[in-house]
Point group: C2
Chain length 231, copies 2
Amino acid sequence: MRIKVMQDIMAANDMIARENRRIFDQHGVFVVNLMSSPGAGKTTLLERTLAALKDEFAMAVIEGDIQGQLDAERIGRYGVPVLQINTGGECHLDANMIRNALDRLDLAGRELLIIENVGNLVCPAEFKVGEDRKVMILSVPEGDDKPFKYPLMFMKSQAMVVNKIDLLGMVDFDVEKVEQAVLALNPKMAIFRLSCKTGEGVEAWLDWLRGQVRCGGKGERRSKGAEEQKR
Amino acid sequence: MRIKVMQDIMAANDMIARENRRIFDQHGVFVVNLMSSPGAGKTTLLERTLAALKDEFAMAVIEGDIQGQLDAERIGRYGVPVLQINTGGECHLDANMIRNALDRLDLAGRELLIIENVGNLVCPAEFKVGEDRKVMILSVPEGDDKPFKYPLMFMKSQAMVVNKIDLLGMVDFDVEKVEQAVLALNPKMAIFRLSCKTGEGVEAWLDWLRGQVRCGGKGERRSKGAEEQKR
């Protein structure tokens, strides 16, 4: 029974995610679904990204939280459209929440939408929302055993940010070991070591994101992104 | 429909949790459900606790992970019975998983069972497993906004360990602000600041746990625990 219910939920979610994707494509907006454990640095990475790219691309943000407006308030300072979704207890965003949010967020002219998911290394990986890319963050203090314990997130993402590298040496974290484990699960993963606090390594992440938006984003260049998504 | 399904799932879970609790009470074993985000330090706190208390109390451990045996292997070194549950994708332990595990874990003579839940600051808070106490860990690098964003875990727990205080000053984390926020949500929360790495503050946690086991645990002393549980 439980399996049947879950299959129904996932099938319904995937259908709505395809509808979201169609809406994103119509507007020519490239969409990133940003995921991690609580406190790994999603909002801080988003702030770094907005500060660097908001004059380069027309950006928008959807903030997903169980409750509260804290992240939307932080992001609001950057002068881009931001919409807060409160899941009211749900541990992840799903396609229907995003679909409903799109009624309140004007995508006209937007080029890059970043969706910050609820802090959770497990469930968000299961729910497509219509994104072009799934990006995950693993932070150094979380430890280097996470790919072994939460493999789905590492398998489903196209890029991984290893954040808080300023804390390397202060906690037990073997970055080479982590990257080997991740590449064994997902050989195509793009990996970026950085510190949102100090700024070290952030430029490589920004370059990758620029390339994704330019090549996988608008108009005719969209076709490449669509192909990648199918693989 | 979704709400009805969730209500059915929670009602079934609570029924099995009560059955688990009856089994724990029959054996006179005090049960802690240990929860946190991935990488906050559940296994390390467990190791500190086992090292200090395993000769004082007859202990046992249930390890919950989505997959793998890493934590059971770490805990196995301490010479106490340990059972690994793999949830196979589920983001939390539920009462039925614990019920099934009890067929394979001999509780005779055990005084303290610690159940390490899947790393997740959201869903485990919703699922009783028959425990006497819910204990949560918040680690300093996760940031001080977590009580505002994930309130249920803070509301449901009887004790909170603030772990990795050796990193205070290296990350943005106002420990007073966190404790005020937590006590606003849950005025009875017992709070322990400690570092599993350096050992600082661990003794106060151990003293609390000793008191809980002695006063809420076996035989006639059980009645007090049962009363507390009802409140």
